[in-house]
């Protein structure tokens, strides 16, 4: 069905209004923003870190930080992008710290595990599993650009803000990601 397969339309007007109210310390706007963005942010964070609890913590910290800095919100920038960026940077810091510790112990760095569904013959499930494995194997920047646009539904300008790159560079990563995924899907 057309309606269910479309991304939830990001409503920039609503986000901007929340951001403006949040700047004035409006708790209701903060709550509305939290409710709208908490689930996708936790999903997004779970793509970086190991456990769901860690992902939860990262997202909660980001929101607490947003509240503490509400007076400094730049009305011209996207609050959504700010939240994704904060979650991402903290996740990457955690991974880096853990890797350093792992290196010291001469251990294997933790790898994202992709569990294959055992008894499901459904084509869509198989495709999803295959795609998930391929996405996980993408180079980090490509994976991020792809997940942020395709799964999280962020606009190119927002992805650029999150990743700290130019909007045109987002496309470069995306096209490369699509090529790699296509090659991976064909190679079978």
């Amino acid at each position: 069905m057309l309606l269910t397969t479309l991304q939830p339309a990001p409503d920039p007007g609503r986000m901007a209004r929340w951001a403006a109210s949040l700047r004035r310390g409006d708790g209701a706007a903060f709550e509305a923003l939290f409710r709208a963005l908490h689930p996708p942010l936790v999903r997004f964070a779970a793509g970086f870190v190991q456990s769901g609890a860690e992902a939860e913590d990262l997202v909660q910290e980001a929101f607490v930080r947003l509240w503490e800095r509400r007076a400094d919100i730049d009305p011209t920038l996207s609050v959504r992008a700010w939240l994704y960026r904060t979650v991402r940077n903290r996740a990457l810091n955690q991974i880096r710290d853990r890797r350093r510790r792992a290196d010291l112990l001469d251990a294997q760095p933790p790898r994202p595990t992709t569990t294959a569904a055992p008894d499901i013959a459904l084509e869509a499930r198989a495709l999803a599993d295959r795609l998930r494995t391929l996405v996980a194997a993408l180079p980090e920047r490509q994976r991020e650009a792809f997940v942020l646009t395709r799964v999280e539904g962020l606009a190119h300008t927002e992805v650029a803000e999150v990743m700290g790159i130019a909007a045109s560079t987002v496309n470069v990563h995306l096209v490369r990601a699509l090529k790699a995924l296509r090659a991976g899907l064909a190679d079978r």
Binding site: P8, R14, T149, V175
Partner: protein, 331 residues
């Protein structure tokens, strides 16, 4: 499953690729990732935790809790220590209750959904897609009757107000609707610069009142059942249109999933469809935005049927494309 739509920026980039179609197909296939990513997330519990660290903490600064005397254990007997602990717990309880009390209640209807809510006085509200209603707990009255039953609306809602001794007031970005016991529809989209009120039964008073500018308060009009009136923000300030006959069934069709447009300009019609169906339109420059549409669906039409009808009415075609539909003149 229909084809998923590519973001416009990406579509531009794919133009130069020899295998654009194959790459676009991968994008479409990846819809399964967006679907299965919707795992259960406990937003309620997380909100409670975040609120404790943000809103609750901020309010504590305002209502400084009574200082807690450090216990001098040496001099306190067991019972006195217990009494002290009880007192501290009670004080914390009161502070927590006060913090909870001071948070306004927000009811939000996202894109593609409508939400029904019951207000503290028993009045019923239906919220249309992309709308938000905010009010104080018990309308701000700790006990007894509040001075007024005030709610703030952004978007569209239908109110069935319980009769009461104090006025029920709906504040929008540019107007106030004051009522006693009645049922009425308010459509207030700042982008369309208009607050539109349609009355089903009872009586309402409509006042032009842009919250940020007291000099902009305009004279009130009183609506009778079956009438509609508007407050419009213009470059010259607020104007209040006199009441006129309206078809209430049409104004409130959205409550049952239906759609009604009464000689509404094309951009307003498209904006409502975007909110209701969660899609996007891009208007071709050759399509006149002056074109109006009158249409009525008592129940939710399929998007295909709706776009088909509007295409015939307006002489346009809806072309599926990057990020949504392009609206172009029919050949």
């Amino acid at each position: 499953m229909s084809r998923d739509l590519l973001p416009p920026d990406l579509l531009d980039a794919l133009h130069d690729e020899p295998e654009a179609d194959a790459l676009a197909a991968v994008w479409t296939q990846a819809a399964v990732l967006a679907e299965d990513a919707r795992s259960a997330v406990d937003t309620e519990a997380a909100w409670a935790a975040v609120r404790a660290q943000t809103l609750a903490r901020t309010s504590e600064h305002h209502s400084t809790p009574p200082p807690v005397v450090p216990p001098r254990a040496a001099r306190f007997g067991r019972t006195r220590r217990f009494a002290m602990a009880t007192l501290v717990a009670a004080v914390l309880g009161v502070v927590a209750l006060g913090v909870w009390w001071s948070q306004p209640v927000a009811v939000v209807a996202g894109v593609g959904e409508t939400v029904a809510a019951v207000l503290p006085d028993g009045s019923a509200v239906d919220l249309n897609s992309g709308s938000r209603l905010v009010y104080d707990r018990r309308f701000g009255a700790l006990w007894g009757t509040p001075a007024e039953r005030a709610v703030q609306l952004e978007g569209e809602a239908f109110f069935d107000v319980e009769p009461g001794a104090v006025p029920f007031v709906v504040a929008t970005f540019n107007a106030r609707v004051e009522v006693l016991g009645t049922a009425f529809n308010v459509d207030a989209r700042a982008a369309e610069r208009t607050t539109d009120v349609a009355l089903v039964h009872g009586q309402v008073r409509l006042v032009g009142d842009a919250a940020e500018d007291a000099s902009q308060i305009r004279e009130a009009v009183v609506l009778a059942p079956g009438e509609t009136a508007q407050v419009v923000t213009t470059t010259a300030g607020l104007t209040v249109a006199p009441p006129a006959e309206a078809n209430a069934a049409r104004r409130t069709a959205w409550r049952t999933g239906g759609l009604a447009f009464d000689a509404e300009p094309l951009p307003a019609v498209l904006a409502e469809i975007e909110r209701r169906y969660g899609i996007a339109f891009a208007l071709d420059a050759r399509v006149s935005t002056e074109t109006a549409a009158t249409a009525f669906y008592a129940t939710r039409p399929s998007l295909d049927a709706l776009l088909g009808d509007l295409g015939v009415t307006w002489g346009v075609r809806f072309v599926p494309g990057p990020g949504g539909y392009r609206v172009v003149p029919a050949p």
